[in-house]
């Protein structure tokens, strides 16, 4: 690994960390594992990062943050708030083999012991909530949605999605990505179109 810039070195450490975490889990990934993965010494890792907590936090942010960026880009392309919300749900709902969702489970598991990882997961979680909140608030302004509390509605939608993702990934429940998407959309309709009776809502959704 000759002649890498400090940024490239840090990047290589992050990539190696993610490769190990993918095999062993985030919590079981040690400085030694990362050094072995790179064919180098633990000293190199220590030179670029203060602690393993910091390495894990940066690696998690790199992987999970990319999902958020992708979702923001897709949402920005959608013309209406309703379509933005659909785009968000499609981005967030996991497949059973979803590696980022397993990373999230690992980050939650480690959060109590690793403050840097906890801070990153909390920050990303809030950023996701803020994305949903702004979609909902825009929808209210445009007359597409009705709610007096976009903030709370966004927390609820995110919570339903997290809980369903947990069912898919950790519990291997007999529900798939399609159910996660359909149920979250139904929950969103219920939250955001409170005055329309259920049958009308379903019809509107199918016609669209």
């Amino acid at each position: 690994m000759a002649r890498l810039s400090p940024d490239e070195r840090r990047r290589a450490i992050i990539e190696a960390t993610l490769a190990v975490a993918r095999r062993n889990g985030l919590g079981a990934t040690t400085v030694r594992d990362v050094a072995d993965e790179m064919g180098t010494s633990s000293g190199l890792v220590h030179h670029y990062f203060d602690s393993m907590d910091e390495v894990l936090a940066v690696a998690f942010e790199h992987a999970a943050g990319a999902d958020l960026e992708r979702a923001r880009a897709v949402v920005a392309e959608a013309p209406t708030a309703t379509e933005q919300l659909d785009a968000f749900i499609a981005c967030y709902a996991p497949a059973q083999s979803d590696w980022t969702m397993q990373l999230w489970l690992d980050a939650w598991a480690e959060a109590a012991r690793r403050p840097a990882l906890r801070n990153v997961s909390q920050r990303l979680n809030r950023a996701w909530q803020e994305l949903v909140r702004s979609i909902v608030a825009d929808g209210v302004t445009a007359g597409e949605f009705a709610t007096d509390d976009p903030d709370a509605a966004a927390w609820r939608l995110l919570s339903v999605l997290d809980g369903l993702a947990l069912q898919v990934v950790a519990h291997e429940a007999l529900i798939g990505r399609d159910e996660v998407v359909a149920w979250t959309r139904a929950a969103a309709d219920r939250e955001l179109l409170p005055s329309a009776p259920a049958a009308t809502r379903a019809a509107t959704r199918t016609r669209r």
């Binding site: 889990g25 919590g27 909390q122 927390w155 609820r156 369903l164 069912q167 950790a170 519990h171």
Partner: protein, 204 residues
């Protein structure tokens, strides 16, 4: 006077849970568990053949407690709607709730250990079956009509889990009263109950 073996065993299992919460699955050692429980490493090995067996036994014991508590709520007094509310709200966490921290830690491990997967599938299956049974009981009693009891149970536990993660790990989002209200509202929606009818069914 020496304590009976069953007390020793349950003290060891409590120590495992403390160790998981404090240092995590990876760094937990049998020696650490022994010293937390105030017993010798040899005694731990006498009761449990390996670290994995020790972890599985501790999770099973914690899961049994959850299941017993849930059964008591589900088999208690009141309308099916009322007991559904109890099952889903009495399980809501306080910030830093030890029991929720344990399960959050454990979710991360389910894909890596068949034993843990089995314990978690059993615990999750128990909650799902309890909720579906209460929904069906409520329908038989004419409290409400639901097209898809199975889906309603999944959606309700999903919302509760999602809220619980946020609350346990970050202590943010919303306070206990708001969480309670959110779960109650979700039950109302999922059972297709009007606020008035829901109030009537849960008034006692």
């Amino acid at each position: 006077m020496s304590r009976p073996a069953t007390d020793r065993r349950s003290e060891i299992l409590d120590a495992v849970v403390d160790a998981i919460i404090e240092v995590g699955f990876t760094d937990m050692t049998v020696a650490d568990v022994a010293s937390r429980a105030g017993v010798s490493t040899a005694l731990v090995h006498y009761h449990f053949s390996s670290k994995d067996a020790l972890i599985a036994a501790a999770l099973r014991a914690a899961s049994d407690e959850d299941k017993t508590f849930r059964n008591e709520l589900a088999d208690g007094e009141g309308t099916a709607t009322e007991r559904l509310v109890l099952v889903l709200t009495r399980s809501l966490p306080e910030p830093d709730d030890a029991s929720w921290i344990l399960w959050i830690e454990t979710w991360g491990e389910t894909r890596r250990s068949a034993d843990i997967r089995e314990v978690m599938a059993d615990l999750n299956g128990h909650e799902h079956a309890t909720i579906v049974a209460l929904v069906e009981e409520g329908m038989r009693a004419g409290e409400f009509v639901v097209a898809d009891p199975d889906g309603a149970a999944t959606r309700l536990t999903a919302l509760r889990d999602g809220l619980a993660i946020e609350r346990t790990l970050f202590g943010t989002g919303q306070g206990t009263d708001e969480l309670l209200e959110q779960v109650r509202a979700a039950i109302r929606y999922n059972l297709d109950l009007t606020p008035a009818r829901f109030a009537e069914l849960t008034q006692s």
